[in-house]
């Protein structure tokens, strides 16, 4: 056995889980670009984009479980009613996205991913100085935005946190920390649906997915304890910087 085939996905998972739990992401924005851009140098046999996305969907489920466990232990961060009332939207969106993954070209998927990441960073930076208060009524655009978020999570192997966190924060009106915790909790259901399609269709590589998931579980469990101590502004800036970097790297790889 080549140990790098286990250690590289494991460390990618650790990084993704740590950042994912802190920023309310599924970790897919770290796993997919890292495995796709660096996998060729470290692995004995590089994986296709579709295989990486399938493994990432299990990773997203790991982040959801690990960081939800952390937030639930602290108490008061996860809004159950909001999470469960919005979960069906992201689940059905995720199913549509997972089906699109099977038919679309990798270049198109990478481009959609990059555009989505740039938009998310833009929205977060724009809302950086907004007051972190709860809205009395959610915006009418919240539900379509969450369906779109679910679709992107199925298509791109992300948790959907890149869309869900801004939507829950800016459109539903949850405070940023509650939006992060609730988004993470919601990801569980979306990720089960997305991962189920990959598992049932035989597209999931258990060794790759298992190593990534193990790294993510450990990383997310450690960092969800720190997340509540980091200032909200710093969280938003870290999140924006991370997604912009991933977007430019993907565009560079597939277009230049």
């Amino acid at each position: 056995m080549n140990w790098l085939d286990v250690l590289f996905p494991l460390f990618t998972g650790l990084l993704a889980g740590g950042l994912g739990a802190m920023l309310g992401l599924g970790g897919g924005v770290v796993v997919v670009p890292t495995m796709e851009l660096l996998g060729g140098q470290f692995l004995s046999s590089p994986h296709t984009l579709q295989q990486i996305i399938a493994a990432s969907q299990l990773g997203v489920l790991s982040v959801a479980v690990a960081s939800s466990a952390g937030y639930l232990t602290k108490g008061g961060f996860v809004r159950f009613q909001t999470a469960y009332s919005l979960a069906p939207l992201t689940v059905f969106g995720g199913i549509v996205g997972s089906l699109l993954l099977l038919v679309l070209e990798p270049k198109l998927i990478a481009t959609v991913f990059a555009v989505l990441l740039c938009y998310t960073a833009f929205e977060l930076i724009r809302g950086l100085n907004k007051l972190d208060i709860e809205r009395p009524e959610p915006s009418q655009f919240a539900k379509p935005a969450l369906i779109f978020g679910g679709m992107m999570s199925g298509l791109l192997g992300i948790g959907g946190g890149t869309i869900q966190v801004p939507v829950l924060n800016l459109l539903v009106g949850l405070p940023f920390r509650a939006a992060v915790a609730t988004s993470t909790f919601m990801m569980g259901f979306t990720a089960i649906a997305n991962a189920s399609i990959q598992i049932a269709s035989g597209k999931l590589e258990p060794e790759l997915a298992g190593a990534i998931a193990l790294g993510i579980l450990i990383g997310a469990r450690i960092s969800s304890g720190w997340a509540t101590r980091v200032p909200v502004r710093t969280l938003k800036l870290m999140f924006s910087a991370l997604v912009l970097y991933s977007a430019f790297d993907l565009i560079r790889k597939y277009w230049f």
Binding site: L58, L61, A69, Q81, F92, F189, E207, A213, L214
Partner: protein, 93 residues
């Protein structure tokens, strides 16, 4: 006379969920770690990960304080997961 255990306060929904997620997390980490060496055990870790949110949703469903609309949403989410499995099995063929 009631024992100390009987007098203790019933755990809140959030505490029950925290317990389920914590246990599931430990089981998944253990199985995935063993799975690095004994590969088929990876599937047990994957199963633990899939089951935890489903058990959590079932706990919320049973809670008396939860609104009816939330129960409908949970049922829809379960239906979505079932559809996903069926679609996956269809694609396998």
């Amino acid at each position: 006379m009631k024992s100390k255990n009987q007098q203790s306060v019933t755990p809140t929904l959030e505490q029950q969920l925290a317990r389920v997620f914590g246990l599931g997390l430990s089981a998944a980490i253990l199985c995935l770690a063993i799975g690095v060496v004994i590969r088929p055990v990876v599937w047990l870790g994957i199963a633990a990960l899939v089951l935890v949110p489903l058990i959590g949703a079932t706990l919320v469903w049973q809670d008396k304080t939860v609104q009816q609309s939330t129960r409908v949403s949970i049922a829809l989410a379960f239906f979505g997961v079932l559809c996903a499995v069926l679609i996956g099995l269809f694609l396998r063929r």
